[in-house]
Each structure stands twice: as C-alpha cells, then as structure tokens.
C-alpha cells in the first residue's frame, strides 16, 4: 500500500485516537430495506485471501484494511456523492471522509461485510447512503434546522449498486495507475511509466513518445511493456485486496466490463509451442 495521504492520516487519527463526533446510531430503517441490503450478490465472491489475512492480524491488519478502503474508495464515493442531489450536506470529500471515520471505527465493520456476502463496493455504497440520511437528520437536529427544507436523501439499493459499479470501474483503474506510477518511480522506472502513460492513457504513438524521451519507437514499446506489467499487477492486486479470489479476478474484470457495456474478449490460450518455422 502506498504512503498515507494527509486525508487518510486525518481519518486514521479520528479512528485510532483523537476525539470524534458521535454520530449516533443509524436512523430507523425498514426491515424490508434491511433484508434487501443484506442479500448476497448474484455472483458472490470467494473470500479468504488478503482481507481475511488482515482481519486476523489485529490492529496492524485493521489499519491496512482501513487504508485500503480509504485509498480505493475515497474517489469513487466522492464522485458518486457529487452526482446526487444531496450536495447541501457538505463538501464531497469531507462527507466521504466523515463516512470513513464513522464506519471504519466499528470493530465489526469487516466482519459484518463478510457476513453480508456482498462485494465490498456494494456494502460501502449501502452504508454510505445510510450515512447520508444520518447526516441529514443531524443537520436538522443540531444545525438549527439547516437543510430542513431539503428532502431526506433517498436511494434505491439496486440503482446505487449499479451507479457505484460504473464509478468503481473508473476508480479502480485510476488507483492502479497511481499505484503503478509510484511503484515504477520507486524502482527507477519513472520514465518507463511516463511512456506507458503517454501511449496507453494519452493515446500517443510510440514514435511520438520516443522522440520526447530520446528513444526510438521500439525501445519506447519495450519500456512501456515493463510499466504495463506493473500496472497489470497493481490492477489485479486491487481486486484481490477487495475480496476477489485470485482465481476469479478475470471474472471480476469481465463483470465490470459487462457493466460498462464493453464486450470482454474471451481469453484464448494457444498451445505452448513455438510457431512452425
């Protein structure tokens, strides 16, 4: 995991030591909604790898888990929140950080998630939507009626899950780019990553990128290939940290591509023999 950014430190401080505002118990939720909220996903993941290992490591493992959630989900939840009509509740990033501070402090947070059978992002968006309701009620109660004229946040779970899937697709790729960039820099491959980024993210041909970096197109492709492998590893590891069984990462990627409306190509495996000369 990469170094903690300042916002993660702040949230960690809230979770692990400094006094925090008690947001109180969740508001009343109908049993039908709760039943729906705890229903397993259609394609439940096999759990038991990265996350479960950390769950058994005590506080240090928990800190890693919280950092993972904050690093990967701050951006998607912020983007999701920006798309709602509930902006009056606060600055998007602060609202999401408040959600993390409120939920990640709970001892049973990951145990409850595991019991839910849901994908982590669906568990989080569910909790986030409830958190928005809590914020609304708190605002009305404590902030002298601020926001009283606004309707309580509403959400429909299936739609929220669908919305967060789309944002998560972008978020996980964004995070993999960030992590691959940091990894390449730490390993003295910053230029390799720049070329990879220019070609795969900015659509620049190797001939053009090579000129900027003083190498020919072939050398640029070789350098990009090195960084591409780091990106692939970072991407797949993010899925594994998120609860996907290593053997099912391809299924998860294909699932997201289907959600995005992109037809995923079938992975073909040719025979492991050189072509006939």
């Amino acid at each position: 995991m990469s170094a903690n950014p300042s916002w993660a430190k702040k949230v960690n401080a809230a979770i692990y030591g400094e006094p925090r505002r008690n947001l109180g118990p969740p508001g009343p939720v109908s049993s039908a909604v709760m039943q729906e909220a705890t229903k397993p996903d259609v394609f439940p993941l096999t759990r038991g790898t990265w996350i479960e290992d950390r769950m058994g490591l005590g506080e240090s493992g928990r800190r890693e888990l919280n950092n993972h959630v904050m690093a990967v989900y701050l951006w998607p939840l912020t983007v999701y929140f920006r798309g709602t009509r509930d902006r009056y509740l606060g600055e998007p990033e602060e609202v999401v950080q408040g959600f993390f501070a409120s939920r990640l402090v709970k001892k049973d947070f990951f145990g409850d998630w595991k019991a839910s059978g849901k994908r982590l992002r669906h568990w989080l968006i569910n909790g986030f939507c409830f958190y928005l309701k809590e914020l609304h009620r708190d605002k009305r109660k404590f902030d002298r009626g601020s926001g009283a004229e606004m309707p309580e946040p509403v959400y429909e779970e299936a739609q929220a899950a669908k919305d967060i899937d789309g944002v998560f697709l972008r978020g996980v790729v964004r995070q993999a780019m960030i992590e691959a960039g940091r990894l390449c820099e730490a390993q003295g491959l910053a230029e390799h990553f720049k070329i990879f980024e220019a070609h795969f993210y900015l659509d620049q041909p190797y001939e053009q990128v090579g000129v900027l970096h003083g190498v020919d197109a072939t050398r640029a492709a070789v350098m990009a290939r090195t960084a591409k492998r780091k990106f692939q590893s970072a991407l797949r590891e993010l899925f594994m940290r998120d609860g996907a069984d290593p053997a099912r990462v391809d299924d998860e990627i294909n699932s997201l591509l289907r959600i995005a409306g992109v037809l995923a190509p079938q992975a073909m495996r040719r025979t492991s023999t050189p072509e006939s000369p």
Partner: protein, 167 residues
C-alpha cells in the same frame, strides 16, 4: 487531493501545485474500460513461459546457467557467439533443436532451455545475418521480441532489442 473547479479534458496535465494523480481524476468510462482490459490475460504464446521464467526470482542467473546445457552445448554455441557472429547454419540448428526440446520436453527445465535456444537463435539470426528463420508473422514476432527484451538480462536484452528493431 485537489478537486478541479472545472474538469479539464481527459488526461490533461495537472496544474501547478496540484496532486500529480489528478491527471486521472477525469478518466472516462471508455478509457477506463480500455485500461481495465489490460488486466485480463492476453492471448498467450510459448514466449510467455520464457518471459515468466526470466522475470521470476533468479531469472538473470538462470539465463547464464541455461547456456551451459542443451540445446546450446549440443550445437556448440555460447553466449559470446550469440552476441558476436555465429554461422547461420548453427543458428538454424540451435533453433531446430530448441524447437524439438519444446515439443518433446524431458522436463520443465528442458522445455524452458529449448525456448531460450529457439528464441535466441531467431533473434541472433536477425541481428547478425538479417535473416528471419521462422514463419511467425513479423508483427507477431516483433511483439514477442519486445516482450522478451523487456525482461531479459544483459546481454540477452541487447540481442532481443536489436532484433525487434530490425525485424
């Protein structure tokens, strides 16, 4: 993290003082889908097994050690001749023997040594003789050579790199 007031176009460089990661804040669903596909295993060929071995721990030492066994010893080719000049017929013999070892491997080590001989022979023939001694389409061969060059230790990397440039 800096949240831009008005979103710049996708991939626009971050402004002064902003988080370098913000270049990705405006990533589109289409771009993300393209990059997400990179996470899926691509069509695999035999060279991937060689790439995996070279990239695994001890790959560099293995690349030195493997040249002290068949198919290299049977043909009489060593590292020096691969990086200088080896007769074309010897390179073809190395490639053919390597291919036989891949098709009928005695064990995993023999299979990987056969792959090393096969692809080194092809790369050296291109570099030293400007001859492509395989029927693999050039575009595909170029990609394979690039793949191997990206993980191979020196002086293998140089041979594969130059071959990729010339094929």
């Amino acid at each position: 993290m800096t949240i831009p007031k008005s979103p710049p176009p996708e991939g626009a460089p971050p402004g002064p003082g902003s988080d370098p990661a913000s270049i990705y804040d405006n990533i589109s669903a289409n771009r993300a889908s393209v990059l997400l596909r990179l996470g899926l295993p691509s069509p695999r060929n035999a060279a991937d097994d060689l790439v995996d071995r070279l990239e695994s721990p001890g790959g560099s030492e293995w690349a030195t050690e493997v040249m002290r066994r068949d198919p290299f010893t049977s043909v009489g080719i060593d590292l020096q001749s691969l990086t200088a000049v080896a007769p074309l017929n010897m390179l073809i013999a190395l490639k053919d023997l390597g291919k036989d070892m891949v098709k009928s491997p005695s064990d995993r080590d023999g299979y990987l040594a056969g792959l090393a001989g096969y692809y080194l022979a092809i790369a050296a023939a291109i570099v030293q003789h400007r001859q492509v001694i395989t029927r693999t389409p050039r575009q595909e061969l170029s990609q394979i050579l690039i793949e191997i060059a990206s993980v191979a230790p020196a002086p293998w990397a140089s041979v594969f790199m130059r071959a990729a440039e010339q094929v």
